[in-house]
Symmetry: C4
Subunit: 278 residues, 4 copies
């Protein structure tokens, strides 16, 4: 009985230590810092291996090494995921042993961690030959990239920028969507007869609209009739100005967000009064 | 005689109720709000159906359903239009039973509503096989999109932006037009002999100018002579800076307009009073 | 003797009237205003005729009409030019009957007026079959467009914008030129062996550089080797940011210039003191 | 013995004179100014000759002249380099006869000067037929361009701009890199089966990503499947806004840097004293 209680106390203290190591490094905790660097390096190498592994010539140099590295990575990611679920009750937010853990598992970050390993087990245990394995590989790769991105402070900055300028972006994107539908409809009616393949329907004409209005202009679809060219010319001049709006909004919001990282207020050095808060 | 007068009073009260329901929902009027949501949904579905209906494979799944939905929509739109014309006299602006109604019918919004249904009747009653039916379909589709756009507050914002920056835009567009004509003329003379098909005339060379200066660059027309390439290089570097001006003007006007919606106020640093609410 | 002196006085008064009519309309001078409108319309029609006349199908409708209109225009432009030279002595700047007139003839605006008519006489009198007549047609057309542009106030605005931001533009353009030469050299060495035709020399590789860095991207020339693509990717990301600089400089200078047209200073409405001169 | 000491003194004075002439012209030193102009002209001509020499037709006009000019240039550059190394001890930074000179030789500017001549000797003396001579030619040409760039004040401005906005640029570029990898992965999985050649691997799909997100859009690679086009459309609209960020950051930093060169000063509205010279 006593040894059991003793074991519980030891477990508790172990859980706390594990929690502190796994969560982002608190300043001064060397073990946690080393663990973080190790995990970031592992994820980064893993992403590089998954990308380089798609080049047939590179993969053929050492296919076993690529596969082995994948297995080792998945084992480590799984252990880390299980330890995270086990120790999450240390976080006051997820304190309840059952409900708290379920809430943690359902949190976006934990779901991404799960998506980074689960597809591999899906292939392993159930031999899902029927399903599209490529899709599982995308999920796995993207989930690991998102995991990697979590350590980029600039991605957090971008997230804040998107959040603060969300109302502007929604306003602009809804205008752009309407513009897209309108220009596609007009070009469909103008070019459908001359190019029944490329402008087969309005949704197909949208491909032309997007590639033109973003100024990419691959050249796989373009108007050939005089009416279509006149229309396309007007659409290009008018629409490109509107399609450049999101870039402008993002740009100025980004600059402002980065400016905030500075001191953010101007003080007159002569009388010491604040002149303007930026 | 009495019942007739009674009927007139009932009609008057009915007209008022109809007017209040059809016009944009006053806060608190539940019936009007429900009617608005119903109409927006109907128009949106209608636009989607018209777009998706151009995809042959999708249309062939249930051609009768598409046609039936179109007929029902047109009937509802027609009834709504007639009710609108009948009840518009409730608006002090269109109070006169005859002159007021004619003024209402001639207002831009009512004309668009009419254009959203009239083409269908044109096809129906007069069997206009000689006319270009495609043109009527574009008119119908665009008119319904504009109807839909009326409920987008961001489109109203864009409208205000275009209005406040109209003098800048006119100034820039007139410069761009002159630039377009000049660069097309120069390229016509430089490339006409080498590519008599693509640079057959100055108006044809304008297609090259627009696609180059907007940086779309499909690649269907490009200079091949040394002189043409030198000229095109200079035009590209100089002209693209000028063709990016409308985007910049729109962008900063848009940001300013959206900023106005915020709390922003400026305080005089001398006396501390509010100078302007932005 | 007396009649001769009388004639001189009459001529003087006539010269003054001609000068006032031909020069830009002073407010209130109806004849001068009508003359200006007439001349602008004539030049505009002339430019349109020259452009539309390059479309073979349009020209063939009435070749005689096009030619006749050209002859009439040239006669009017010539008379106007001669009257301008004769009456320019009314302007204190060109007061001297010989030296003043020579100075006037050598002024840029008068030279452009001369270029707008002279090429026609060159063809007429000297039958210059040996010379490249196309070149004379470009000169004539461009000179008339510049004449037309003189009446666009927005072109004057653009001129001021280019003038005020000339130092920034020169700085940026010199950087861009160096960048252009460097990227072309690198791409020449990377792609010369794989594509000896498209990347035959560094000047030829510059065509690729300009079309890529301005993001036009026709697709007539692009790297095919792995090294070339890696290099092109880096060049695209780095260089496009730099090639967008002139557009940004022009844009903000343009906005500032247009803003100046407003009142240009902010006054606190409470204490009446100027807070900032824009 | 005396003559030896006398010689040392003469050498010292000669070294000082040489140092003053070779280093950037101090105001008033006419000889140094002339030397600078001569050297800039020589380097500029040399760069032009190297570029024009890649055009076969131009080179064949006078191959001996091109080669001779190259030999003369290399001799002058070598002499200048040796004089620079010899006289650098006049600079307090490199005062020590051995250690100072080694430090000077290892400085970036001196290394570039060395790279501008060394490749030629490599070819000359060692007859390096095995090595890739083209690479040496690039190094030589680029090194001479960088030498030329050293005299462009606008390049120094750009350097300062890149330095002051380095943290923003690093933040943005890391986001762009992640975006590039993610979009390439998604497009690889979407298009690999339909276009096994163009989307052979994720690194190959990156070529598509860069060319699309920078809006160059050559049209050599583009999605053909419906899924790929939908994905590409979303990527284009979202990604182009992000890829335009570096241009915006560079642009505003450049404008600010150039503004600093102006007179601009800010005065505190409370006490009227100058707060900062912009």
């Amino acid at each position: 009985m006593r040894s059991h209680s003793h074991f519980r106390i030891q477990m508790k203290s172990l859980k706390k230590t594990v929690y502190e190591i796994i969560e982002e490094a608190a300043p001064g905790n060397r073990v946690s810092e080393i663990f973080d660097v190790f995990l970031i390096t592992l994820i980064a190498l893993n992403v590089v291996a998954l990308i380089v592994g798609t080049v047939e010539e590179t993969y053929q140099i050492a296919p076993r090494a690529f596969d082995l590295f994948e297995v080792i990575s998945v084992v480590i990611f799984t252990v880390e995921y299980l330890l995270r679920v086990w120790s999450c009750t240390e976080n006051p937010k997820y304190a309840h042993p059952v409900k708290g853990r379920l809430q943690f598992v359902a949190s976006p970050l934990a779901l991404i961690d799960l998506l980074a390993v689960l597809p591999v087990y899906g292939v392993f245990f159930f031999n899902l030959h029927g399903l599209d394995l490529r899709f599982l590989r995308v999920v796995r790769l993207l989930a690991r990239m998102v995991r990697l991105g979590r350590y980029f402070s600039s991605l957090r900055t971008l997230g804040r920028v998107l959040y603060t300028s969300r109302s502007e972006l929604v306003a602009v994107v809804s205008v752009l969507f309407l513009l897209l539908v309108m220009t596609s409809s007009m070009m469909f009616f103008a070019e459908h007869q001359a190019q029944p393949e490329e402008f087969a329907s309005i949704p197909k004409a949208m491909w032309w609209s997007i590639i033109t209005l973003t100024t990419v202009g691959y050249g796989d679809v373009f108007p050939v009739t005089a009416a279509g060219r006149l229309l396309a010319g007007i659409i290009a001049i008018v629409g490109i100005g509107l399609f450049a709006l999101p870039a402008g909004i993002l740009g100025s919001a980004f600059m402002e967000e980065l400016g905030k990282a500075g001191n953010g207020r101007t003080v007159c050095p002569h009388c010491g009064e604040v002149i303007e808060e930026e």
